[in-house]
Amino acid sequence: MEILVCIKQVPSSNKVEVDSATGVLKRNSAYAKMNPYDLFALETGLRLREKYGGSVSVLTMGPPQAATILYEAFAMGADKGALITDRKFGGSDVLATSYTLSQGIRKFGKFDIIICGLQTTDGDTAQVGPEVSEMLGIPCVCNVRAIDKVEDDNIIVDMEMSEDIEKLQVPFPCLITVQKDIYEPRLPSYKKQKATANREISRYSLNDMEDKNEKHYGLDGSPTCVQRIFPPTSDKVQEMWTGSGEDLSARIYDALKKMKFTA
């Protein structure tokens, strides 16, 4: 079984501030680690390979330094890696990112199953996985909480919904996004890290893609535009309430109702 896991490098901390005087984003944290949700996707890929054979490839998109997470994935046991990087991909929103990834995936190889983490910790949209599947014309199942089994040409998974669990049989090729806790991610192995430190990775830029039209990528390929960013109004309240039991219970009730904790 040919398995692809899509991973992303994210800032190690989400602590960003807007300078309220200038409106400028203050951002000190470097892009430093693999998106934590992707560890579960990678672990899922490795377990499928261990049980059913095949190989696990990893793909990421980002600045040149994002290659480091491919090597982190190698240290956990991934076999092959590719990095999609080009300045022309800068400023991509969800659609342009998904399109670039789908182009990169076509370039990288043929896969039976593509596994993504549920979401990232920086973008936090959970939308890239399903958009990629549409662009590749393959079915997808998000929020997979358990994998039942793999048969010759399909996989059986449990998808979590609001109050229910749907069991689905999905033919290959397909894409799934997995929930955290589907499996406990393994730690990177020092031995593997040493052995793979110089492994070649593939690098793709716009010129390597099937669709080389610049307009379909980066800012030009992004339908959404960020108009402005601003600090959230702090909703942290600290109030002290005194009064009779009747008054206080009424105030608590009204507050709970307003916050929609009760009808």
Partner: protein, 396 residues
């Protein structure tokens, strides 16, 4: 759209310029500034780069926005049981539609849904478009996306709103990708311009920053909104609007994905998983009085927990204890009753979203972390609060 241009001839202090970029997207390549793919076009460099960076707008072919009309809401349901986020979105859609004087639509996909579609007419939509097919009996992303696309192609709504539920969060991107249009996830504020551009505001970077987003040259504009963000309209006794079935050839609903079964999700147990927690502290005088705490938790559909002394007394099991020697919790709502708030306890709950603390002592340290410090006797407040919640529920 546009692109960034670097005027290399104006560069003086290259190191200082590179530091302007909050994303570290600039590199010094042999004395020239190069912008790499980490660039998010936030344009901070244009503002602060002393004229070195310029953003050049490029002309785009404007689409005909008047060809897209109405605000559509996706009706999320399992077996005809409508998810309440649907009504909240209808409430918002009505508000937006009123501003631009356009209709509100609902799009309802499933099998045997006509009766249920009538129910939606009590909430003030102009039309409920249905697609009633056996292939849509259970959620299957390919068939649902096809039916959704059929609706968009035929009705051409300006805006499509989808609940950010596990189903909505996969269906909306699938459909948005099909139309190559924008989709903004988890909006907390929505507004609309006169030219029907939807103003989408969402938290970014883990909620530290809010971003205002437009989809200025694509239709439909799509956005997802989480449950319990918008306000649902009151159900009217009268109905208004009509149900309009949409034709769709069954041959187009030929997904090879098979739904093998649907089961109820097991209730996650454990105080760590609770969204709402009511906590008993030493202010609870007798073991029997815990029933007050339990009952409050029950009427709020939450769980109950306690402080360490209560576990030591043997009143409750250790798995219900919050604190350094117990569990760490982060519920959306926590109500502490008669808890003084030791350092160890607070460490286990201070990241809760809304903290109500009831305590007779105005100097109790729990009040330092509480959003609402309620100075009073839990024995007077809690029973009355339980009654009010029960009454409120009966009316609603």
């Amino acid at each position: 759209m546009g692109k960034l241009i670097v005027h290399q001839e104006k560069v003086q202090d290259i190191a200082a310029l590179i530091k302007i970029c909050p994303f570290g997207a600039m590199e010094d390549k042999a004395g020239k500034i190069e912008i790499n793919s980490a660039c998010r076009l936030c344009k901070v460099c244009v503002k602060r780069g002393k004229g070195v960076f310029e953003f050049v707008e490029e002309a785009t072919n404007e689409i005909d926005k008047s060809a897209w009309r109405g605000i559509a809401v996706y009706v999320e349901h399992v077996d005809g049981k409508i998810h309440p986020v649907t009504y909240e979105l209808i409430g918002k859609a009505r508000e937006l539609a009123a501003k631009i004087n356009q209709p509100v639509y609902a799009i309802f996909l499933g099998e045997n849904i006509n009766q249920k579609a009538q129910e939606i007419l009590h909430y003030g939509v102009d039309k409920v478009y249905t697609c009633d097919k056996k292939e849509l009996r259970a959620f299957n992303i390919e068939n649902y996306a096809t039916a959704f696309e059929n609706f968009i192609n035929k009705v051409k709504p300006a805006v499509v709103l989808v609940g950010a539920t596990p189903v909505g969060r996969q269906l909306a991107p699938r459909v948005a990708a099909h139309f190559h249009t924008g989709l903004t996830a988890d909006c907390t504020i929505l507004d609309i311009h006169e030219n029907t551009d939807l103003v989408q505001i969402r938290p970014a970077f883990g909620g530290n920053i809010m971003a205002e987003i437009l989809t200025p040259n694509h239709r439909p504009q799509m956005a997802t909104v989480r449950y319990k963000i918008m306000d649902a309209p009151k159900r009217s006794d009268e109905i208004s609007g009509t149900v309009e079935p949409l034709e769709l050839d069954s041959a187009k609903l030929a997904s090879k994905v098979e739904v093998l079964g649907i089961t109820k999700k097991p209730r996650e147990i454990g105080i760590e998983n609770a969204d709402i927690l009511v906590v008993a502290g030493r202010g609870v005088k007798k073991k029997e009085d815990l029933k007050l705490i339990r009952e409050l938790a029950e009427v709020l559909n939450g769980d109950f927990a306690c402080t360490r002394p209560l576990v030591e007394n043997g009143w409750l099991e250790p798995k219900r204890q919050i604190g350094l020697s117990g569990r760490t919790v982060r519920p959306k709502l926590i109500i502490t009753c008669g808890v003084s708030g030791s350092v160890q306890f607070v460490a286990g709950m201070e990241h809760s979203e809304q903290i109500f603390a009831i305590n007779t002592d105005p100097k109790a340290s729990i009040f330092k972390v509480a959003n609402y410090a309620v100075v009073g006797d839990l024995y007077e407040i809690v029973p009355k609060l339980i009654d009010k919640i029960k009454q409120g529920r009966d009316i609603a």
